[in-house]
């Protein structure tokens, strides 16, 4: 394993701090033949829009694209569950030859009649881009007939990376905005952007803001509703989480509705507190908000600190590896791990930009490996070389960690418990603690002891 080839083209997507001048290239499509952990444009769009629970999500394409995305994310809804069903036009050979527009029209009208959704999203998959269906005009026609917004999402898989999918989703979402009434919205109001309510996280965050005295007009898109998005232009500030997924929407709203935005992260104590302070600072004409915020942060932290300290005693000096979708999440994770006394020995992302990697470089210790769009062979090589105790990643990384005998924490959409917010930090610590200190690793060849 130590002699694996790192392909020449890949060498500038891997960097070891202290070893070479920093000159990473990223943002490129994976080279052909690599076992990439990346997904497609459609995947990006689906991830962003899926949590809107009272909308119809119709995947226009052959069955697979829909089947694989059927309810695999833990984005919770407090009301309708329509988003958890899988709707596909299930294109077959004749459709591919003669076009799928009629089928799309029929499917849409029938589904809207059956389920009365508040809006419909139609996702274009690769094949649709190729056969050239005019999805936009079908959507327009149906929208007119049925009197609800029917929005095409231009998410043909090959037209870029997952990031482009976020963009396409934002474009579709933007069409919903500006439709609802805004007269009763408070001057101290926000939209929460880029929060998908995995494990109920949006509920936690929303509660914080409300306790601060701020009205949350909409969450986009966690536990999302079409009508909330419709009046979101009435909010006074957009609070955007995560690097990639929704900045595009925030920019568009800034341009059209003059709503400023700030970027935050809800993972880890500092970032969480900072998010609330930054938001409060925006409403400084109302000093009560900042006062409430201070109290809230104090209360929350003092509630969790003793427990966190206990975990830290066991975790001090342990080593972590991180491989996540967006680099922004990696920033928060590195900080959160520091809180637990852990160092990060490997960090990578599927979609980071050069600036992101520069920030990572500054955050990390000497020797830390930084990778862009890594493959499993590279990941396992560094996990062993760096003797990691913990791997934080997504579905495809989990079994790799386990095969090696390394603890694992899912920080992607398959996690079940909220990791955001102060309580999320405690959950995170608990999960990390449980896996890192689990006795099962001592049974594995890598850590075998005589017993």
């Amino acid at each position: 394993m130590s002699t694996i080839h790192i392909l020449e083209e890949r060498q500038r997507q891997i960097y070891q701090k202290g070893k070479q001048p920093f000159d990473m290239i990223c943002d490129k499509v994976s080279i052909a033949g690599s076992v990439s952990q990346r997904a497609c444009v459609f995947c990006g769009s689906r991830v962003v829009l899926y949590p809107i629970a009272d909308a119809l999500h119709l995947v226009h394409g052959p069955i697979g694209c829909a089947a694989y995305t059927w309810d695999i994310r833990g984005a919770l809804s407090s009301g309708p569950q329509l988003h958890r069903l899988s709707f596909s036009t299930d294109l077959t050979e004749t459709d591919v030859i003669f076009g799928g527009e009629t089928k799309l029209y029929k499917a849409l009208t029938q589904l809207i009649d059956e389920h009365n959704p508040k809006a419909a999203f139609v996702y274009s998959t690769c094949i649709v881009g190729l056969i050239g269906d005019d999805v936009t005009s079908v959507c327009k026609k149906v929208a007119k007939e049925k009197g609800i917004p029917v929005l095409p999402v231009h998410s043909e898989g090959f037209k870029g990376t997952k990031k482009d999918g976020y963009k396409a989703a934002c474009d579709a979402l933007f069409e919903l905005i500006g439709k609802g009434p805004v007269d009763h919205i408070s001057p101290y109001s926000i939209n929460i952007l880029g929060e998908f309510n995995i494990g109920g996280e949006a509920w936690i965050i929303r509660d914080y803001y409300e306790r601060m005295g701020i009205e949350v007009v909409s969450v986009m898109t966690g536990d999302g509703r079409v009508d909330d998005a419709g009046k979101s232009h009435g909010a006074k500030l957009n609070v955007v989480q995560c690097s990639g997924s929704m900045t595009h929407l925030a920019l568009a709203m800034e341009k059209k509705y003059k709503i400023p935005f700030i970027r935050v992260s809800y993972f880890g104590i500092e970032d969480m507190a900072q998010a609330l302070y930054d938001t409060a600072a925006h409403f400084k004409e109302n000093p009560a908000i900042m006062k409430n915020t201070r109290e809230l942060v104090r209360e929350e932290i003092s509630g969790m600190y003793p427990q966190l300290k206990k975990y830290r005693t066991d975790l001090e000096g342990k080593k972590a590896a991180i491989y996540v979708g967006g680099a922004f999440k990696a920033f928060s994770l590195i900080k959160a791990l520091k809180h637990l006394g852990m160092t990060t020995v490997l960090v990578g992302s599927q979609t980071g930009s050069k600036d992101d990697y520069e920030i990572l470089r500054q955050m990390c210790d000497e020797g830390t490996v930084i990778v862009d769009d890594a493959n499993p062979v590279e990941l396992s090589k560094y996990l062993i070389e760096k003797d990691a105790d913990l791997f934080i990643g997504g579905v495809k990384e989990r079994p790799i960690a386990y095969k090696l005998g390394v603890g694992f924490c899912d920080h992607n959409h398959e996690r079940k418990i909220p990791l955001a917010g102060f309580v999320g930090m405690l959950n995170f610590a608990k999960e990390v603690h449980a896996t890192v200190t689990s006795p099962v690793w001592q049974l594995t060849p890598r850590r075998e002891r005589s017993y």
Binding site: I4, H5, L7, S30, I31, A32, G33, S34, V35, S36, Q37, R38, A39, C40, V41, F42, C43, L58, P62, I63, G64, A66, A67, W70, I72, Q81, L82, R84, L85, S86, F87, S88, T89, D90, L91, T92, E93, T102, L104, K106, A107, Q110, E114, C126, I127, L130, I131, G157, F158, K159, P376, V377, V395, K396, R398, Y402, K403, L404, G405, P445
Partner: protein, 458 residues
């Protein structure tokens, strides 16, 4: 009520699929390819498909699943994916060093019309395929058939590409196990061994997708049929193809190509189907059925008779893949249960006809549909409730909503582990199926019976 959006009224829905009971071809092809030792499946298309297939297989097996992708971009979708594939082949052998690369297409590359045979020939010419290494492919457009079709095509491609006829017969039987779990493939090998029949089982994902924890990450685990074994299939005494849809084409291809006589049987699920398998194997290899096998059979029969009073007249709804459902339906009918709603997502009229024959004597109406979806199946259940449901993990929503006992069977199973380790084929597999069915039925009876008739001994 997660599936509260399921309406009672069954409407004809030609233009769409709600809650699919199938998925697309490439994932089946990828799974089959993983059953060759040292093979890296390669998805010729854009990245997303490949990522989805790998994730889904990983969720089902809880194992790392490796596959390369041609990473199509807009350019490739206009000018074709030749350059991508040639570069991919080059890169794959340089970085990952597999013995063989099994290319499957996707909707995208199929529609563009890439000629994979010609592209691989070109790669070979330009020295991109090292000596003793192989690249072969199957065409798997997902807008035709289903994941089963993909499995079937990739398995057939193994024959087309590797089977050789030396003219000298070998005393061995080819067994094509069908689109079954690694544990099932293991079980089929075990049965053959008990009968002292040397065999080549292909594809064989045992010890690939149900491998041990070794403390090492192995890109190419130790399981899988080897290329050398595949080559010898042309000299075998005969071929048993299990499952008409998944194994039929490969079995027949071997007959055509190397004149190896074939028999295509139902998957050996349940007593009768396993009998037919054992019998065919015995005849083909000219051996006697060993005592061990007879004893296993007797045990299954023993459980069937011991517990038959719990099976009688229980209504069952089944959803899954055609080959599995045919044998399973036969098995359930043979123990006096009544499968009344049977849906497969894979299209094909023969399926409906066969199920009709098997369920002919059931004294209540039977619904069967090929090319159906789970939404419709759920509607049928709403209108005519059942005592038991069998299907993949997604059935759990319906089980919860309708409060109906549920046994996981099929693909994908995302929330339990047994399928990787315990077979459902063979006599032992039959025992496991019955155990699972009885567990849920009797648990239900325990839960629902009034205190005075709550039974200790059942």
């Amino acid at each position: 009520m997660l599936f509260r959006h399921t309406t009672n009224k069954v409407a004809d829905r030609k233009a769409l699929n709600v809650n699919p009971a199938k998925t697309c071809q490439p994932i089946g092809a990828m799974y089959a390819a993983l059953g060759i030792h040292g093979c890296l499946p390669h998805s010729h298309g854009s990245q997303g498909c490949c990522a989805y297939h790998r994730s889904t297989l990983t969720r089902h097996y809880k194992e790392p699943v490796m596959a390369g992708t041609s990473s199509f971009t807009e350019g490739a979708s206009v000018f074709g994916g030749q350059a991508n594939l040639v570069q991919a082949i080059d890169n794959i052998f340089t970085i990952y060093d597999p013995v063989v690369v099994a290319v499957h297409t996707t909707c995208l590359s199929e529609t563009i019309g890439d000629d994979i045979t010609q592209i691989t020939a070109k790669a070979k010419e330009s020295g991109k395929i090292p000596e003793g290494r192989y690249v072969f492919h199957a065409s798997t457009p997902s807008y035709v058939g289903s994941h089963v079709t993909g499995f079937s095509s990739m398995t057939k491609a193994m024959v087309d590409h590797f089977a050789e006829k030396s003219g000298k017969k070998r005393r061995q039987v080819n067994i094509i196990p069908g689109y079954v779990e690694p544990s099932d493939m293991e079980e089929i090998k075990r049965i053959a061994k008990l009968m002292k029949v040397p065999c080549v089982v292909f594809p064989d994902t045992s010890n690939v997708l149900n491998g041990p924890q070794t403390g090492k990450y192995e890109m190419f685990p130790r399981g899988g049929v080897t290329i050398e074994e595949l080559k010898t299939t042309g000299d075998s005494l005969g071929t048993l193809g299990l499952g008409k849809l998944a194994s039929g084409p490969a079995a027949r291809a071997l007959d055509t190509k190397c004149k190896v006589a074939c028999q295509v049987l139902d998957l050996p699920i349940g007593l009768k189907a396993t009998d037919r398998f054992v019998d065919a194997l015995r005849n083909m290899a000219g051996v006697n059925v060993s005592d061990d096998i007879n004893i296993e059979r007797g045990k299954l029969l023993d459980v069937i008779t011991d517990m038959h009073q719990y099976f009688f007249g229980k209504k069952v709804a089944l959803i899954g893949d055609p080959d599995q459902l045919i044998s399973l339906t036969e098995f359930l009918v043979s123990v006096d249960m009544w499968p009344i709603h049977i849906v497969t997502g894979t299209p094909g009229k023969k399926f409906e006809k066969r199920i009709r024959e098997i369920t002919e004597d059931i004294p209540v109406p039977v619904n069967v549909k090929a090319g159906g979806d789970m939404f419709m199946w759920h509607q049928w259940i709403k209108n005519d409730p059942v005592d038991l449901m069998m299907g993949n993990t997604y059935v759990k929503y319906i089980s919860r909503d309708e409060d109906i006992p549920f046994v996981r069977f099929g693909f994908p199973i995302l929330d339990r582990i047994g399928h990787s380790y315990f077979p459902t084929v063979g006599y032992r597999g039959g025992l496991r199926i019955l155990e699972k069915i009885l567990d849920v039925l009797l648990d239900r009876q325990d839960r629902d019976s009034p205190e005075e008739s709550f039974e200790l001994v059942m």
